[in-house]
Structure formats: structure tokens, C-alpha cells
Amino acid sequence: MGLLIPEKKIEQLIDENGIRTDGRKVDEIRNFKCAVGVLENAEGSAYVEHGGNKIYAAVYGPREVHPRHMARSDRGILKIYYRMSTFSVFERKSPAPNRREQEISMVLRTALEPMLFLEIYPNSAIEVFVEVVAADGGTRCASATAVALALADAGIPMRDLVTGVAVGLCNEQICLDLNDFEDKAGDADIPCGWVVQQKKIALLQFDGKMTPDQIMQAFEYSLKGATEIYAAQQVALREKYEAIRDIVNPPGSVQRDDDEDEGGDQPYSQQPRDEQRTPAPEGQEGGQPEDQPGEPDGSQPDDQGGDLE
């Protein structure tokens, strides 16, 4: 048994001009593309293309926990299943789940758990299925990015997204977002998952030899890359709802103009803080639920009448 052509290996990962095997500079990320709502049945789904990685993530739940004994009466549980397709890698992977996949599933879970409010889903499970259909180095980081998008797409309340990008050491130089060759032949690899706005780390692993100072510098590279990907994640989430808005509220209608005044097309993080969340005056908070049931009853007939005319 064996392959006719061995897997290609590259010794020199960076040339004398500081250019890497795929034409990037040391602090550049690979091409990144993402979309949400890509699958029909899942309650939330995302597709991420990060370099040569092609990854789907799908969310089901909150739903009943199987097996039952895993249920927690005080909070919900998050289950992540990271899997690679047999044909995603150079040498066919066995279809059975292996230890690496189980570990990455766990690492992804611990990265995403702090983003969720699991205490509001007692006795339930939120299940996320990740399928790597093409792998090109850094699949766990790209998976973290995809899982965060799919959870957000499913409408599950989140504190923030998680954005993954690896950084490593190739030929003695720190390189952002390692590709497959660099991942395998490089001297060190640090997969990072960022909560970009807080500049905090949700996923962290490390293999190789580096000094603490080098690693801190590597984090700087990684955060810069994650910031770019985070912006793309936000655009993908917005695009889906803008498409819905365009159907519900066609361009040119009054309400749409109002929307644009408020939000514009700025990323969420760049909007002034106080406009973003106006805290409701203390007294109103208790009163709102009482007011709301009355409101739709009163206003809807008018709205509908207007539409019919």
C-alpha cells in the first residue's frame, strides 16, 4: 500500500526578499471568505474559506440532550463535533473519528463556551457540527471562526464572536497565518482564537520552541490578522440581514432610510458606544413587558391597512 507520489515538502519557506511560498509577506493573512445561512436544514450555518481551507459549520438547538445523563439542570451544554472529510488531506484519512478530531472538538468547545449564555438553557444542548471538506493548515482556527458565525446565525445570544488565526515560526521568522507547508515544515505553530474587541484569547495551543518575548510578538501579528477576519465575519452576518431587509423593506422606503441613519454601514465596533446600547431608564424596564402586549394590537391594524391601500 502506498501513494505513487510523496507529499511535497518545502525546506525554504521564506526567500531572501521575505516572500513566503504562496507569495505573502510575513504579516499577511491568506484570502478569507465567509458566508452564513448556507445550509438548508440547520438552524444556523456558516461556510469559511480561509486560504485552501473549506469548512462548513452547522448549529442545531437548543434541543434535548442525548444521552440524558449529560444534561445539566442549571445550564445548557455546548457540544462541538469537529470532523475532517476523508479526502480533505493529502493521504486519505480514515473515516472513523480519531484522537486529533476529538481534541480539537474539545478545544473549540472551550473557546466558544465563554461567548454563550449557557445558563439560560438548562437541560438543553446546543450542538455544532464542523466538517472540514478541504484542509490547508490552520483548520482549527478557521473552524473557530466558522463555529462563531454559525452560532450567531442561529440567533443564539453571544457576548462576541471568536476569530481564529494561527501564527508561527518559519526559518527563524515569525509568520502570520501558516499555510499547510509552513504548518508542517515550520519550527513553531501557535493556533490562536481571539475575542477581538477585548483583545483576549479564547483558544490557544502551542507546538515548537520560542522565547516568551517572541511569543508575545507573535500574538501581536495574530491579533492584527484576527482583526481583519473579524471585520469580514461582521460583514457576512450583516449581509444576510441586509438581504432580508431589502425584501421586507425595499430600497427607497421610509423605514429603510431611518435604518441607514442609525447604523450606516460601519462595523458595529466603530459606532459610538452610547448610541449602541442606550440603557433604558430604570423605571421603564419593569414597565416595558406590560406595555408591549398592548402595542402590536393597537398599531398593527393601521400598518396593515396602509399596506393594502
Partner: protein, 275 residues
Amino acid sequence: MSEVEKVVSSIEKKYINELLKDGKRLDGRGPWEYRPISIEAGLIPKAEGSCDVRLGKSRVIAGVKYDVGSPFGDTPDEGVCTLMAEFVPMASPLFESGPPDESAIELARVVDRGIRHGDCINYEKLCIKQGKSVYILFDDLYIIDYTGNLIDCASIAALVALINTKLPGAQWNDEKGDAEWNGEYWVAPIEELPLTNTFVKIGDTICVDPSLEEELIADCRLSVCTNSAGLVCSMQKGGSGLFSLDEVYMCMNKAIEIGNELREQLNLWQYRKEI
């Protein structure tokens, strides 16, 4: 909240049934009409051949990988092609994670038999050295969206992934006693286009390419694989209902007719890779 089990209401069931009696269907199709089929081939760089096939909103991603190994004892001059299907739980709330269950195994076997008996692959061309060394092809199917009729969607995906397959050429090295690369590439020896058409029987009516609702309320199912020579290559009956012989005869003839239409419409040879 997700539905753990998909249930079709008796009102919907009755409605589908009555529409079918008039030759109509819930989604506006005629009884012998397929949902739209779209194919993207060659999307996975590390697979020898690959495709993403959508039949309506059912979706299968297929990839072919190769290995070089010993032939089976009873076919020393033939290569091997094995099929695997995985119902990825992302495809439907009805699927659970774990090893392939009986329906995933049935799916892979039905598609496999269609390809094996439809003279699709020239297995002799996959032989490198008689009795010693042959190509082994792994055609793996991942179901990532399920809205009915996975068998037909998977049969197209398995076939297109094979058509799309480009292999390194091999020669036998007597000194080493092993196969080695001859420096060239070739396309996998695909010679026929067997396609599977699945019919369901709902009450007394029969239609092709069932949607999820139709599949769930069907009494029984018949998958018929045909090739371009107008021959039936494999069949599989599923579901706990009964078919009359007339119905089976009609399904076979319809399958030959629809199979030929699909072969013409899809023009599957276009997915062959350039060498």
C-alpha cells in the same frame, strides 16, 4: 427549537395524495420531473476528483482518493473502487453523529452496485501488475443537506467525482518489486454513465425524485439504475409497502427514459479534468 423528528400531518399527507392523483405535486413539478440539479466539480484540491452536487436542496459533497495495493485474490487483474457514505449530522436534525447507520450503509451500497454493474469503471485499466499491484479508489460521499432523495443525488455525486478523477500514472519496477510513478497523469478509466432514479409509491400513484415530505409518507420506494445502453444495472426496493409487477415494469422503463434525459441534460463528461 429544532424538531427532533419530522412528522407530516395527515392533512398534508392527504393533500399530497390527492394532488398526485391529478398528476400534480406540492412543489409544482409533474410526476416524472426532477428538481433542479446543479454540479460544481474539482472544488477540493487534495482530492483526486471531487464535486458538490445539489438536487433541489439535497446536497452531497463527494471526493475520490487513491491508494496502490494488492488486488483481491479472485480478481488479480482488476483494480478496486470502494464507496462510503456519511450522513453528516449537519444535514438534518434526523441524523445523529456516530458510525454510519443502516440507511447510510444502504445508500453507499446501492450507489456502489449501480457503479459496479453499470460498467462504469474499467477495472482492468486500474491494474498495475497482475496479482501484485492495483489502484484502489475510495469514492467517499458526505451528505451535508437532506431534503429527500439522497440516493439519486449521491449517485450523480459518486459518478461525477469519478469522472473528475485524475491519477498519477504507474509502472511496475521489477527490481524494487513495487509500483512507481511514471512521471505522467491520466484520467480515471470511466466508460459508462450509470444513473439511479428513485421512484416512490404513495397510495396508488408513483412519482420520481421524492421530496422529503413525499419520502416520509411514501409506502415504498424503488431505485433503478440504468446505463446509456438502455439496460437496468441494479435495483433496490425500500420501505414497507408492496409493488405490483406492472408498477416495477413501468418504473424500469421510466428509469431508462429519464436516465437518458438526465445524461443528455447534465453532459457529465464536461467534468473530466484536463491532463
